[in-house]
């Protein structure tokens, strides 16, 4: 039986900042907030131990125009590459913040102890990455995200950040246009607890796991923060833009880093051709992700893929790099290929196919991470500033979470004094407790969340995947609606309080279903092809009608779509070729 928590926190004075999510963005925000004002009461609420967050899976690196490797690299070039990569949907003022803060943030990470691979002159090493005009991706072997995450976690421990590990965020407590704080479940006890807070920062990562087995993401990348904010009345932005990474492993969808191509890997089809010559003759394998993913998908659709019981695939050939480079620069990748695919890239090409990887969309924020709701912020993949527009460049996601995590942390620290939220009413806690218990009641006809989750991934992959068209998307929308209806019959069989993962996975599915509706609705609405969003029935970019952000608000259980202009700057709209 779940217990309502007549928790001490209901009556206690609010936290200055409650951060939901303990990945790179959340931890940077926490650390920066403590740095801005050491007297603040900062809590990080995370459904897993923060050091397990999905930031750790980012292998390749983070872009910054340090000009360590290419002496002529500049912040301006980084800005241009990012805007062009975004297919001109990024807000140019936000991109300027991202790229000009980049060198600072990489140095700051170095200053606090992040291990970076080094060049001969002892500066931070950089390597080429897709869509970038210069080698500016800073890395630590192929474990960059992991080492950054560990460093940030260590620094947060040093600074005395208050961690609530294994707490599952459920709801934002809202009064009019203001937030009172957060309501979450203590996973270890099953208690529903209130976290009154002057400010809340959502940093829960992306939502690409809604593609389920067609996704490279961790099981928990279910868009919890976006879904909570959305249901609480905060708009989402650009949700239709989901990036497919070109090189997921054939069997598992797990990712082979772009660094593998950065180090010089080839993409090869069944005929043995380096087929990227057809699509990006100059950049070849190092074209931007949307283009390379589409190229792979086209090769497969046109019958030049290889066939296996686990599906059609292509090959990533690293053999010519030699054992030494593979062992020293890509050790984790080699291990993954061996564990999950049974292939040693030293001896054999690696079977790959595109996999849903990153969500460009998220909670609509300004350049300081603020949402339209007083005291509520979002950062990282969870938020959408937007710096990635219609397509994110490799090496810009770690950068995004660091730069905007830090900015949101500082903004919340500076602004938290302005807010004086009222207490979270106990009735809200009781209501949630009641709702959750509803899942556990025996039902005549019941559904298992596992099957629904599987079907959601399948319909998204088939109907709202790399290549999209109206009829298919409509089918997808129908499926999502029917799955949402069936979800009301989901039964949770574990009726215990302690560590009820059965219940958690059901709640995560609800979040994915709500967000999937926005992705599909946006995909249908946007009648053009831009960045990761490719419509067979509208194959070209239509700047006249569609050079604008999509905005989603939650109305009676459905998304209502609105629009917002793109902030332009120095760079005019251009055709995007590589």
């Amino acid at each position: 039986m779940l217990q309502v928590c007549t928790d001490f926190r209901l009556s206690m004075k609010p936290f200055d900042i409650v951060i939901v999510g303990g990945g790179g963005a959340g931890l940077y925000a926490a650390m920066e907030a403590m740095k801005t004002n050491p007297g603040l009461n900062v809590a990080v609420i995370s459904k897993i131990y923060p050091n397990r967050s999905h930031t750790s899976a980012a292998q390749g690196g983070a872009n910054a125009a340090l000009a360590n490797k290419a002496k002529d690299d500049t912040v301006e070039m980084h800005i241009f590459d990012t805007i062009k990569g975004s297919d001109y949907l990024a807000d140019q003022d936000a991109v300027e913040v991202l790229c000009s803060e980049a060198p600072k943030i990489i140095r700051e990470l170095d200053n606090m102890g992040t291990p970076w691979s080094r060049l001969d002159d002892k500066t931070i090493a950089q390597r080429p990455f897709g869509g970038a005009g210069r080698p500016r991706c800073c890395y630590c072997a192929d474990k960059t995200g992991h080492t950054i995450l560990q460093t940030l976690y260590e620094q947060c421990l040093r600074k005395g950040v208050f961690f609530f590990n294994e707490y599952f965020a459920i709801d934002l407590s809202v009064e009019g246009s203001r937030s009172r704080g957060l309501i979450a479940m203590n996973i270890k006890t099953g208690k529903i607890e209130a976290f009154p807070a002057k400010t809340v920062i959502f940093a829960t990562g992306g939502y690409s796991k809604m593609y389920w087995n067609r996704s490279s993401n961790a099981a928990g990348n279910t868009g919890d923060g976006q879904a909570i904010a959305y249901r609480a009345g905060i708009p989402l932005k650009d949700m239709e833009f989901v990036q497919f990474h070109p090189t997921g492993l054939r069997k598992s969808g797990l990712l082979v880093t772009e660094g593998a191509r950065g180090e010089g890997g080839y993409l090869v089809n069944a005929l043995g051709e380096r087929f990227m010559a057809r699509y990006a003759p100059e950049k070849m394998e190092l074209g931007p992700r949307d283009l390379v993913s589409r190229s792979l998908e086209t090769e497969i659709l046109e019958g030049r893929g290889l066939d296996s019981p686990a599906g059609k695939y292509l090959l990533l050939d690293l053999r010519h790099l030699g054992a030494d480079i593979i062992k020293s620069r890509l050790p984790q990748i080699r291990e993954m290929c061996m564990y999950f695919e049974g292939v040693d890239p030293i001896d054999e090409p690696v079977p790959v196919r595109p996999t849903a990887h990153y969500s460009m969309g998220g909670i609509d924020t300004d350049n300081y991470g603020r949402t339209i709701m007083e005291g509520v912020y979002a950062a990282g993949e969870c938020g959408c500033v937007s710096v990635h527009g219609a397509n994110r460049l490799g090496g810009n996601s770690l950068l995004d979470i660091l730069v905007f995590g830090r900015i949101a942390g500082r903004a919340a620290a500076e602004e938290s004094g302005k807010f004086n939220p009222s207490a979270i009413p106990e009735s809200e806690v009781t209501r949630i407790e009641h709702d959750l218990r509803g899942f556990m009641q025996p039902k005549g006809h019941y559904e298992r969340y596992g099957a629904l989750r599987e079907e959601l991934g399948q319909t998204l992959g088939l109907n709202v995947g790399i290549f999209r068209e109206a009829s298919k998307i409509r089918k997808g929308i129908e499926d999502i609606e029917s799955l949402t209806e069936r979800f009301s019959h989901v039964r949770v069989f574990d009726t215990g309080d302690i560590y009820n993962t059965n219940l958690l996975q059901a709640l995560e599915l609800k979040n994915m279903l709500d967000l999937a509706a926005t992705v599909a609705a946006g995909a249908l609405a946007r009648e053009e092809s831009r960045g990761s969003h490719t419509r067979n029935d509208f194959p070209v970019r239509d700047d006249k009608k569609w050079h604008k952000h999509t905005i989603y608000t939650y109305e009676e259980g459905h998304p209502r779509i609105g629009f917002k202009p793109v902030t332009m700057g120095r760079y005019e709209l251009q055709e995007r070729t590589y």
């Binding site: 899976a57 691979s117 002159d121 931070i124 389920w212 069997k251 999950f340 560590y499």
Partner: protein
């Protein structure tokens, strides 16, 4: 990742997972449930557990997140050895299991049990905090972001492997000494401490080292190498532990810990006799009072059985001792030179 679509392979068979169950709300003690499912070759233990959770028994509880061997969530004991479920092949475990067709799944050891296969990680985090497992930068915070530290690839390589650690706690679970005393620092924390201590950007080396040489610290390790052998990232954890000891002796001498005095005694004896003088080892390690209190009661029986080691004057030096002494001294010269070179850098 799919839990229901199991890869298409020729070979398939029934596999029984004997899973440790315990829900403190209802169970007075742990028990095992057997789940027999038909599996095809190539599947990992984690995917099999996911399948069980979704199709057989939703109440089976375990942690899993990235499912790709990088987050460290799904460490558990599989056929008695701590490892990640997501990188472990069912077929490999079938080869290892003692009872044909049965794979035992148990929670990690040496951490408090929460439910089924889930253990409390807070004690480990507590130890990380206790031993300042972070770089405390030499650079003041308000200077951060302005310029890089210049670090050689050579220095990077001294902590490169150690930063592979994903805190999965397999080493914690396998640690001999932790099992004997829960306050022991733990292999993972020693590894992280070492990683911080060799980082030239860190400014609290001496303070951290002082904490590590205290009771339940680095000298309690019994060199069983289980941590290293079961490390899911193949990190040579014992090298880190030895590294801390080497550093402790070099910087702090041997006065403050019995472990260091114990180690130093080996050096002395080899230099003098070429072999260990065991009779006085306890005194040199722990002092006379300790030796009288702890070893005298046993000495009587040892004498009866002629098992007492000979007193120092009776320990015959090795036959080639003169040559050895000379060589030892010569090497001491080399080492002194090395140190001078190092401190000059």
């Amino acid at each position: 990742m799919s839990d229901t679509t199991i890869q298409h392979h020729v070979e398939s068979r029934d596999v029984t997972f004997r899973v440790h169950r315990f829900n403190p709300q209802v169970d007075s003690k742990p028990y095992f449930d057997d789940y027999t499912i038909k599996l095809e070759k190539g599947i990992t233990v984690l995917r099999a557990l996911n399948y069980i959770k979704e199709h057989v028994d939703s109440t089976v509880t375990f942690r899993a997140f990235c499912q790709a061997g990088i987050c460290g969530s799904c460490a558990m004991r599989i056929n008695g050895i701590s490892k990640l479920a997501c990188t472990t092949q069912v077929w490999d475990e079938l080869d290892r299991s003692r009872e044909t067709g049965i794979i035992r799944i148990e929670p990690l050891r040496n951490l408090p049990l929460i439910k089924d296969l889930v253990v409390e990680m807070d004690p480990l985090v507590g130890k990380m905090k206790k031993h300042s497992n972070w770089v405390d930068s030499r650079m003041p915070e308000d200077e951060w972001g302005k310029k890089e530290f210049l670090i050689s690839e050579k220095e990077f390589l001294t902590y490169d492997k150690a930063t592979d650690c994903i805190l999965c706690a397999s080493c914690v679970s396998e640690c001999t000494i932790l099992r004997a005393h829960q306050e022991y620092v733990s292999p993972a924390v020693l590894l992280k401490s070492y990683r911080m201590n060799v980082d030239s950007r860190d400014g609290i080396h001496d303070q951290r080292l002082a904490g590590l040489v205290k009771d339940h610290g680095v000298w309690d390790c019994t060199h069983c190498y289980r941590c290293q052998e079961t490390c899911v990232k193949h990190i040579p954890i014992m090298d880190a532990i030895h590294g801390i000891r080497e550093d402790a002796i070099e910087r702090r001498g041997t006065k403050d810990t019995s472990g260091a005095r114990h180690a130093e005694a080996f050096m002395d004896d080899i230099a003098k006799k070429g072999k260990l003088v065991e009779a006085t080892l306890p005194i040199r390690t722990n002092g006379i009072a300790w030796t009288v209190k702890n070893l005298l009661p046993m000495a009587f029986k040892m004498v009866l059985k002629r098992r007492t080691p000979p007193p120092p004057p009776l320990v015959k030096a090795s036959k080639g001792i003169d040559a050895l002494r000379k060589e030892f001294r010569e090497m001491t010269g080399h080492v002194t030179k090395d140190h001078q070179k190092k401190s000059g850098e």
